[in-house]
Every structure is written in C-alpha cells, then in structure tokens.
C-alpha cells in the first residue's frame, strides 16, 4: 500500500470513525450526542488548555525539569503518566460529576467516544490531513499503526469513562481510583517500552492487549446491567 493511500485510510479511521460512532450511538438522542461533545470538550480543556501548556512551560523554563527528563529514565515516564492520569481522570470525574445528569451506561460510552475521538482527531487525524495536503513522503505502515493505536486507545477511553461514571453514580471512590491507577500503569508501560528502545510493535501489542482487557471490563459492566434489568423484569 502506498504512503498516500495509507494516509487517506488512516485519516478516515481517525477522523470519520469517532464521529460516525458518536452519531450511531446517539441516534436521535440529543442528550447523548451532547455527552459525546462534552467528552471531547473535557479532553481539549484538560489536555490542550491545561496539561500540554504546563508541560511545555516546564520543559522550556525549568532547567531542573529538563535535567530530570534527561537523567531519570524511569521516574520521568512515570511523572508524565501520573500527570496524564491526573488531568484526564480528574477532568473526566469533574465533568461526569457536575455536568452529566443522566448516567446510563450508554451515556458513559458516548462521553468516552467524544473524549477518545477528539484525541484521535487532534493527535493523528489533523496532522495526517496536513500530510495529505503537503503530499509529504511518509511510511504507510507507521501511519496505519498510529491510526490503529488511536482506535485501541479510544476503546480504553470508553472503558475509563464508564468506570468513572459508575464511580460517580454509585458513589464508589475505588472505581475512580482504579481508573486513575490503571491509566497511570497503562501510559507508563507504553512509554517505558518506547524509552527502553523496544521496537514499536511491542508497545502496540501491549496497547492492543490492554484494549482487550478494558473491552472485557466494558462487556462485564454491560452484561451486569442487563442481568440486573432481567432480574427486575422477572420480579
């Protein structure tokens, strides 16, 4: 497959897929569509307006931070992972706690599609569109791998959104802490594999494995809810 064909396919996956997924899930339900947009806004506010500028300020202005990044091959990825989990899960908690009034399973999924979808569009989709316009020469395989990674992480974001939503709805702090901890561990291992110099497919395989783990959680919650509904009907 040529580089440009791969770019077109990857742009479709990373831009059109999340939009399509949100539209299909929402159907005619405007509230659910709003929650998908709220998920997108939460990512943009907590990453693009808060965390990225903060990291950029630190890496431009703080010599201690620059030296820390150069001399701490374990602690530096850990600090980055902790900050990502703190800002993303913190943002998710605040939005789901104070802005989301209806907390059905599908509402959490819609929020997660928006959250992961806008990340996919911003981090890979838009840069790929600029590659398409400039006709830059790129590796087709790498482009498709990065697109696949966005699909995997979108599923992970859906799972984290469902986890935090359940934590908020059922007032279970451990579920919110579990999302924070799993997010930190997920980011740290993926980053550490890259820093340690493993081939890119190793970290992608890890992300794929983690996606299946989180997909299992989503299915478990869904089946659990259906089970409770059936018991309710039988009673």
């Amino acid at each position: 497959m040529s580089g440009q064909t791969a770019v077109i396919l990857a742009a479709l996956i990373t831009v059109a897929l999340p939009i399509l997924a949100a539209a299909i899930l929402a159907g005619g339900d405007k509230t659910r569509l709003l929650y998908a947009l709220l998920g997108a806004a939460t990512f943009l506010v907590f990453e693009y307006l808060l965390r990225f500028p903060l990291l950029s300020l630190l890496s431009n202005e703080s010599l201690s931070f620059i030296l820390f990044s150069q001399t701490q091959p374990v602690l530096y990825p850990l600090a980055l992972s902790l900050s990502a989990a703190l800002f993303e899960e913190g943002g998710r908690y605040l939005a789901l706690r104070f802005l989301v009034r209806r907390r059905a399973f599908e509402d959490g999924v819609a929020f997660g599609i928006g959250f992961g979808g806008v990340e996919s569009i911003a981090l890979v989709g838009l840069p790929l569109l600029s590659v398409l316009i400039t006709k830059e020469d790129v590796s087709g395989a790498m482009v498709l791998i990065s697109a696949a990674e966005r699909v995997f992480t979108m599923v992970v974001h859906i799972a984290f959104s469902v986890m935090v939503l359940r934590g908020v709805e059922k007032k279970r702090v451990w579920e919110i802490l579990a999302a924070f901890t799993l997010h930190t561990v997920f980011n740290f291992i993926a980053l550490a594999l890259q820093v340690a110099g493993y081939p890119v497919y190793v970290s992608e395989l890890f992300i794929l494995g983690f996606m299946f783990f989180m997909l299992g959680y989503i299915l478990y919650v869904r089946i659990n809810i259906l089970g409770h509904a059936e018991k309710g009907d039988a009673a």
Binding site: N60, F68, Q70, T71, L75
Partner: protein, 132 residues
Amino acid sequence: MKKSAAALLCAAVLLTAACSPQAFEFDEDAAVAAAKDVIDLVYMLDFDAVCALFREDVREMVSAEALGAAVAPILDGAGRFVEYTKAKAVAYNDKQYGEIIIVAVQAKYENEKLTYTVSLGRDFSLVGLYIK
C-alpha cells in the same frame, strides 16, 4: 488514614528518588563554564572548533557541516546574544557514554530564549549538544 499514609509514602518515595544524590562528585561552576565555552563557539558559528571539543569516540559521528546545517538556522532566527539567564548541571551514569555531566543553560537572545543541553565527559570533553 491508611490511604493517606500510602499516598504520602508514594510521594515520599518519588521525592527521594528525584532528589537522589549526584552519580559522582564534580565542580558545577567549572562544568557550567565549560558548557558556556561551547555555546560561545556555537554562537560564533565556529563549528570546526566545536567539533574539535567532542570526545574522540563521539567526534567520528559528527561533522562541522552537519552541525552547521542543524544549528545555524536556529541561531539566525534568535538574533544577537544578550545574556545567560540560568544554568544547572547534574552528574549522570549513561549506559552508552559512561559518566557524564549534563549542563542545561538558558541564554537570552534579541528575538527569543534558547535552552542548551550540553553533555560533557568528566574531563569536560564534549559528548552531546542539544538546542531548543
């Protein structure tokens, strides 16, 4: 209570690790001065002199032409040198380059601030140079 203690313990472990002692003793002032000497040569676009400062095992991997092509455009945009604003150095045991001193120096230019990361051997021979 247990949860708070665990969180505090984690924070303490991270802080202790982050503030761990230097990998080896070195003269920080001398290291910063050596790094500034390198930066001065870079500013004068004397890339042959910069290459001559590289440690022997690294020198064969760099050339004055390649260095100039990478660095000159950055300095063109920065404008006239004004002053060094801050500097800091740490000792580090690198897997590839052995015992090195990493010096971060921030320099103010007419149009922008640049941060140099200069890696030096224990004898202050140049091992690496990065400009942001």
